[in-house]
């Protein structure tokens, strides 16, 4: 989780990702962020996120992203 927070904070140093929700709904993350986030996750966690998982629900909070990574790691 810490590593993920670090990736997110690099994108937006002004956001506290440990508590913030609605990252997509409130337009904190934009398409550039999602693209770099997915490639960082691939690099650092070795998890390739398939297209059908790239949906708002999975990116709305750090926890949701983390759950997604864990779920894909198990598969």
């Amino acid at each position: 989780m810490e590593e993920l927070i670090e990736i997110l904070t690099d994108l937006h140093p002004d956001v506290d990702f440990t508590t913030t929700e609605g990252l997509v709904d409130d337009r904190i993350l934009d398409s550039l962020d999602i693209v770099s986030l997915i490639s960082e996750i691939d690099d650092r966690f070795d998890v390739a996120i398939p297209a059908e998982e790239i949906i708002p629900e999975n990116f709305n909070s750090a926890k949701a992203i983390y759950d997604l990574i864990r779920r894909l790691e198990d598969e």
Binding site: P13, D14, L29, S31, L32, I34, A51, I54, P56
Partner: protein, 508 residues
């Protein structure tokens, strides 16, 4: 009789297809007759206030209503300047300063936001303007006097000094562009566009005016969808989109995540892209997914009205090849000029310069900056003839196709946007916590790198920059240094920093 005014497109179509949807987003659909009515009401309102021949700011979120406001300005004999409230505050301030508009058309729901800017213009509410009775004699009087070199819009593009430049385009250059583009891409009444570009870039000309010309339909794709590839393709299918003119990064976002394994754009037959290099690996995935579709690479600077050259993909490319820029549209010529202003030999690199009707009028309120790049054709010593010097370097390949090579200065293309690294540096240097900086572009990784000296932490600096620069201009990586390396004559040593960027890449 030859067309003199872009509005003739709308007028010819509205009588034929009054009830067809012209522009639509998730909230609003406007038919041609609504566009026709609203824009003429707006034009009547502007002209009755004595506002003719003026830049009119349209301060509205992207929507069919904003588009109607654009045409309304043209009916009033004015030229529209789109400002989207999503643009960064500092940039909007600079644009207002450059324009000093006499009037701003605003959507009522965001008028509070506008009132935080000092612009000195009269506030005109969109919903009131469209209730103005159409004044037929007033509008035909304006039309009677309009000529085809009158301006119709200003869009702002990155400037290396930190101040954006307003490019002024006229009826004639837009009509010329739309005619050539439509022929090359084969638009028709059946065309259904999904627009991606913001309305404050000239990229949206590709959808706006062909929609009027052919009675086609444009769907303004919600920006949020460009984050979610499967949903985006589902949107294309839901609206039976057959034509997209998008930046490469919007297309690669879909293919890179293997979206085609899950869902394909079923109706898409015309794909135009441009503004940056299309990685061949991604391009192949598109061609495999859509074997029936045509793919066309477009190239052109804002200063020559939209796009200027095209290449219809007609062969396969090796992974290390670059898709050519191709050849110019009819009625414009590309000159490749060497440093001493001679025509480049076949295969030799030269600066890409453009000649023809497509040239815009120049930069708004910036005669000096205009004169630097809109210059006398050096190959013509007989009579005045302007060319536009793009600052792009190119060469012809053995097939005679134009290939983009690089820039001669520090302008870059990143995520489809044209960016002056100098503009980023100028904005960073304005921050109190920074004493010196240098901005570089790591082309291989498509990342903007900023090196700086100062008190601010990386996080503080990035946060402060968000107020000043659009999202796509923010550096992807910031590095604070004790001091910047200097060359022998005291300039910032960009080469040394560039090597550092490249080495960092290797270390990772």
């Amino acid at each position: 009789m030859r067309q003199r005014n872009v509005l003739e497109y709308l007028e010819a179509t509205v009588s034929r297809l009054p009830d067809k949807v012209a522009f639509a987003d998730d909230e609003c659909r406007m038919t041609f007759s609504q566009v026709f009515h609203d824009s003429r009401a707006i034009g009547s309102a502007l002209a009755s206030k004595g506002l003719t021949g003026e830049p009119i700011v349209v301060f509205m979120p992207k929507s069919p209503r904003a588009i109607a406001a654009f045409f309304g300005c043209v009916y009033g004999g004015d030229y529209y300047v789109p400002i989207d409230p999503e643009m960064p505050r500092f940039r909007i301030e600079l644009i207002f300063e450059n324009l000093k508009p006499k009037a701003v058309i605003v959507e009522r729901s965001i008028s509070d936001e506008l009132s935080s800017y000092r612009h000195g213009g009269e506030l005109l509410f969109f919903d009131e303007l469209i209730r103005t009775p159409v004044d037929e004699p007033l509008l035909s009087g304006i039309r009677e006097r309009q000529i085809d070199t009158d301006p119709i819009y200003i869009v702002f593009t990155s400037g290396s000094t930190g101040v954006p430049k307003g490019v002024v385009a006229c009826h004639r250059s837009v009509i010329d562009y739309i005619e050539q583009l439509s022929e090359v891409l084969g638009f028709s009444e059946e065309t259904r566009f999904a627009n991606q570009s913001p309305l404050y870039f000239d990229a949206c000309l590709k959808e706006l005016y062909p929609t009027l010309k052919f009675g086609a339909t444009t769907f303004l794709t919600p920006k949020q969808l460009f984050m979610f590839p499967v949903k985006l393709v589902e949107y294309l299918n839901e609206h039976r989109i057959n034509t997209v003119c998008w930046v490469v990064s919007a297309l690669t976002m879909i293919s890179a995540f293997r979206t085609f394994d899950k869902v394909k754009p079923e109706y898409l037959r015309t794909v135009a892209f441009g503004s940056e290099v299309f990685p061949i690996k991604q391009f192949k995935r598109w061609r495999e997914a859509l074997p029936e579709a045509t793919f066309t690479n477009l190239y052109g600077p804002t200063e020559t009205t939209g796009m200027c050259c095209y290449y219809r993909v007609d062969r396969d490319f090796a992974p290390d090849e670059v898709i050519p820029v191709g050849r110019p549209f009819h009625n414009r010529e590309i000159l490749l000029l060497t440093k001493d202003n001679q025509p480049a030999a076949p295969g030799e690199v030269g600066e890409i310069c453009v000649r023809g009707t497509a040239l815009t009028l120049g930069y708004y309120h910036a005669f000096d900056r205009t004169d630097e790049v809109f210059v006398q054709n050096p190959l013509n010593d007989r009579y005045p003839e302007l060319i536009y010097r793009t600052g792009d370097l190119g060469r012809l390949n053995e097939r005679g196709e134009l290939i983009f090579v690089s820039r001669k200065d520090h302008q870059i293309k990143h995520m489809g946007h044209r960016i002056e690294l100098g503009e980023i540096e100028a904005n960073v240097n304005l921050l109190p916590g920074v004493s010196m900086c240098c901005c570089l572009f790591n082309k291989e990784k498509d990342k903007i790198e900023l090196f700086y000296v100062g008190e601010d932490s990386e996080a503080e600096l990035l946060t402060a920059l968000k107020d000043k620069l659009p999202r796509y201009m923010l550096p992807n990586r910031l590095t604070k240094l004790e001091r910047l390396p200097l060359t022998a004559n005291g300039k910032i040593d960009r080469m040394t920093l560039m090597r550092r960027v490249e080495n960092q890449g290797n270390a990772e």
